[in-house]
């Protein structure tokens, strides 16, 4: 393989640092024993196996490091974590700071609302309070939509998904706009999951990728091929079914989030393209 | 004028005043002395109701101080009081110290109060200092201001609590001189002090206290001639010796 700083570091220390999220259900989150689990996390572990094989190490320690949306990029850059797989969207701004692996998931941005709210799609939001999570693409889209269509919405930017959902649940907002998979994830931990529905036409498609340090093609190559292998071999679909079509912790709810056409295409033809 | 009848006071189980009685007639000057902690300050503060007491009665110009129905602020407005540490208000100029109570308590207008204040400042020899702040005056000057402040309220009697004991020796006399003059003009005064020179000069009677009790209450001549109690004798010999 090419000379890679990251691989050298991993080899020298015998340790790889993994960045994970704490409550991005079902991608990367804690179960009730504070173990990290989730779809992205399992794929990341596959990458770890590939690295271990590549370096021919008998033993490779992993160090788990929770990251937040605010500090994940600096932490990748300064070497605190070697790879971060969670629910990070691959876009051009971020590509200036970090590299992205092959896409691991593709989502559409949609709305969650109370079943009896009467909201069916985005135009129904005119004049209402709508919540979204600060710093996400949904926030940008929502603001743009508001201006373009003169919907006159009040947009609430909550700190994280949990707070966004709380805002929705307590009636401060009628709808919560976010990546559809995450919306299903929030539903999975709601008090009464049956009260909520995900509606609306997707406003955008986004590609989630794992973040790596820039300018380390040697490492990226290993990561990419590990992900590609999982996808083409059908392993990724098995993981998908485990997290999206079966009951998952913490409440044993089944998200029933059917594999989309985009995802099917991705599994056939893995790539690291951003959608922007 | 002032009538103290069987007054007792305690903090918890500690007895500060025990069955104290005395009378002060109009125009009389009474000196109160006694060792530290004997209750002198407490007694004098009881007279205008600054300290509550549990038993006995104090009458001031026909008004009962201990009676809960008494309007204490109004009563106190007409009793002048001077403290050991002057207790001028440090954030007000001298003239404001003198006028504030006249305006806010007696409801005089500002001009009238200012005139009165300046007159009294003049009397204690400090007219030129009216614009300064207390912190800029010497101790003796501050105490003279405090006396002037009390006099501004046209008091019917004056209470002094060791007015010279916080002063440098040089300044004691400038304050005592003002007090002597006041006494000679016929002001009713109760003075806690160890300045026996002052007592000799103007007091009509001397009260000696110890452990919260009034042990001696005698005319000046009697007191300095042959004090009856041994405790008073010892005390006098100590403070007069050096």
């Amino acid at each position: 393989a090419q000379e890679s700083a990251t691989l050298k570091k991993i080899k020298d220390s015998g340790t790889i640092s993994l960045g994970h999220r704490e409550s991005s259900i079902p991608f990367s989150y804690y179960d009730d024993k504070q173990q990290v689990i989730g779809y992205s996390h399992e794929l990341m572990l596959k990458v770890v196996d590939a690295v271990k094989a590549e370096l021919k190490l008998a033993k490779l320690d992993t160090r788990l490091m929770p990251v937040t949306s605010q500090n994940r990029i600096p932490l990748v850059q300064n070497g605190t974590v070697d790879i971060e797989c969670g629910s990070t969207t691959n876009n051009t701004e971020r590509q200036k700071q970090v590299a992205f692996s092959n896409t691991i998931f593709i989502i559409g941005t949609r709305l969650m609302t109370r079943k009896d709210s009467g909201i069916k799609d985005f135009p129904d939001l005119a004049g209402k309070n709508v919540v979204t999570t600060a710093g996400t693409t949904s926030e940008r889209l929502l603001r743009k939509l508001n201006e373009d269509k003169k919907l006159n919405m009040n947009i609430i930017s909550a700190k994280d998904h949990g707070e966004s959902f709380l805002t929705l649940e307590t009636g401060r907002a009628v709808a919560f706009m976010m990546d559809d998979a995450l919306l299903y994830g929030e539903m999975a931990k709601a008090k009464r999951a049956g009260d909520w529905a995900v509606v609306g036409t997707p406003q955008s498609r986004e590609a989630y990728g794992c973040m790596l340090r820039k300018d380390d093609p040697g490492f990226k190559k290993i990561v990419d091929s590990a992900i590609a292998k999982a996808m083409t071999s059908g392993e990724a679909e098995r993981v998908y079914n485990k997290w999206f079509m079966n009951p998952i912790p913490p409440k044993g709810l089944n998200l029933n989030f059917v594999l989309s056409e985009d995802m099917k295409a991705l599994f056939k033809n893995p790539n690291d393209k951003a959608f922007e | 004028m002032i009538s103290i009848r069987n007054v007792s006071k305690h903090y918890g189980s500690f007895q500060v005043l025990a069955d104290c009685s005395t009378e002060v007639a109009k125009g009389e000057v009474i000196v109160v002395c006694g060792p530290s902690g004997s209750g002198k300050s407490t007694l004098i503060k009881c007279v205008n109701g600054l300290e509550p007491f549990q038993q006995g009665e104090i009458w001031l110009n026909g008004i009962s101080v201990g009676d809960p129905k008494t309007n204490l602020p109004r009563l106190r407005a007409h009793v002048g009081m001077v403290f050991q540490n002057f207790e001028l208000f440090p954030h007000m100029s001298i003239i404001d110290n003198l006028t504030v109570a006249q305006v806010k308590v007696l409801g005089r207008n500002l001009d009238e109060s200012t005139n009165k204040s300046l007159k009294l400042l003049d009397r204690v020899g400090l007219k030129t200092q009216a614009g300064k702040f207390p912190g800029q005056l010497s101790g003796g000057q501050q105490q003279r201001v405090a006396i002037a402040r009390a006099l501004c309220m046209d008091p019917i009697c004056m209470l002094f609590d060791e007015p010279t004991s916080a002063l440098d020796p040089e300044m004691i006399n400038e304050v005592l001189d003002v007090m002597v003059e006041l006494a000679r003009e016929g002001m009713t005064m109760m003075v806690v002090t160890h300045e026996m020179g002052f007592a000799r000069k103007v007091a009509h009677r001397v009260i000696f206290m110890d452990h919260g009790r009034i042990i001696e209450d005698a005319g000046k001549e009697d007191f300095f001639g042959t004090p009856r109690s041994e405790r008073a004798q010892v005390f006098l010999s100590k403070i007069l010796q050096h």
Partner: protein
């Protein structure tokens, strides 16, 4: 370190158009300043009242004031903030709670942050006021009463004015604290300075530029406040008293 510095990002236009990222930071600065100043007024008013109540010779009043202080002092600001914003509207009668929740979200956040910071800081101001009054010689109160002032007049004309002059330095640091504490309010979504800084990171991924700019703005606030409070201190200094010389 593989960091790509780009200070020009501050002047780049934001995706919502029309404004630059620097404008975001400045609008955050405005919110921080508005929130801190208005909370400070609330804190001063409440704190002075409670501080005076703590020193009055009445068990009930001083008991109420001390319970107030203990509650607002012994729970972390962050927790109090969440309680004001998320929990309280749920505990209010449904009508009022719902009415509050239908207000403009920005207003809801600002109101919650304002009340939270104001109450939190007022407990601290209260303790300073109490300490200030307590540090005055006992004789001051006696002297004022002896002149015929009533107890409220004694506080109004003698004790409180002097106590405030004495506590200008500790109040200055509480005042500075309120600006710093306001950074915590970004957690309920209020777009103040720290939140705008974070938003800048989210949008541009230029973390260091953002942190540095935000830190500098806080230092700037601090310097301005310190200079202003020094002026106040000089103004209120009592001649011949405590460093007045």
């Amino acid at each position: 370190m593989g960091y790509h510095w780009n200070w020009a990002v501050l002047l780049a236009p934001t995706p919502s158009g029309g404004v630059t990222y620097l404008d975001w930071l400045l609008s955050g600065l405005k919110v921080t300043v508005a929130l801190s100043l208005s909370s400070w007024i609330l804190a001063l008013v409440l704190g002075s009242i409670m501080g005076v109540l703590r020193t009055v010779p009445n068990r009930w009043l001083s008991g109420i004031a001390s319970a107030y202080v203990e509650i607002f002092r012994n729970i972390p600001l962050l927790v109090q903030l969440f309680i004001w914003y998320f929990v309280l509207p749920e505990l209010l009668p449904v009508g009022i709670g719902t009415a509050f929740k239908q207000l403009d979200p920005m207003l809801q956040q600002f109101l919650s942050a304002w009340i939270c910071l104001g109450f939190f800081t007022s407990a601290r101001v209260c303790e300073q006021v109490r300490a200030g009054i307590g540090s005055l010689p006992r004789g001051q109160k006696s002297a004022a009463l002896a002149l015929g002032f009533t107890l409220p007049q004694t506080y109004r004309f003698v004790l409180v004015p002097m106590a405030f002059r004495l506590i200008v330095p500790p109040l200055t640091s509480e005042f500075l604290n309120i600006f710093k504490n306001s950074a915590v309010c970004s957690t309920i979504g209020l777009l103040e300075l720290a939140a705008q800084g974070r938003q800048l990171v989210d949008y541009t991924a230029q973390a260091y530029e953002s942190f540095i700019a935000v830190t500098l703005l806080y230092v700037l606030i601090n310097v301005v406040v310190m200079v202003a409070m020094r002026k106040v201190e000089e103004r209120t200094r009592v001649p011949g008293y405590m460093g007045g010389k």
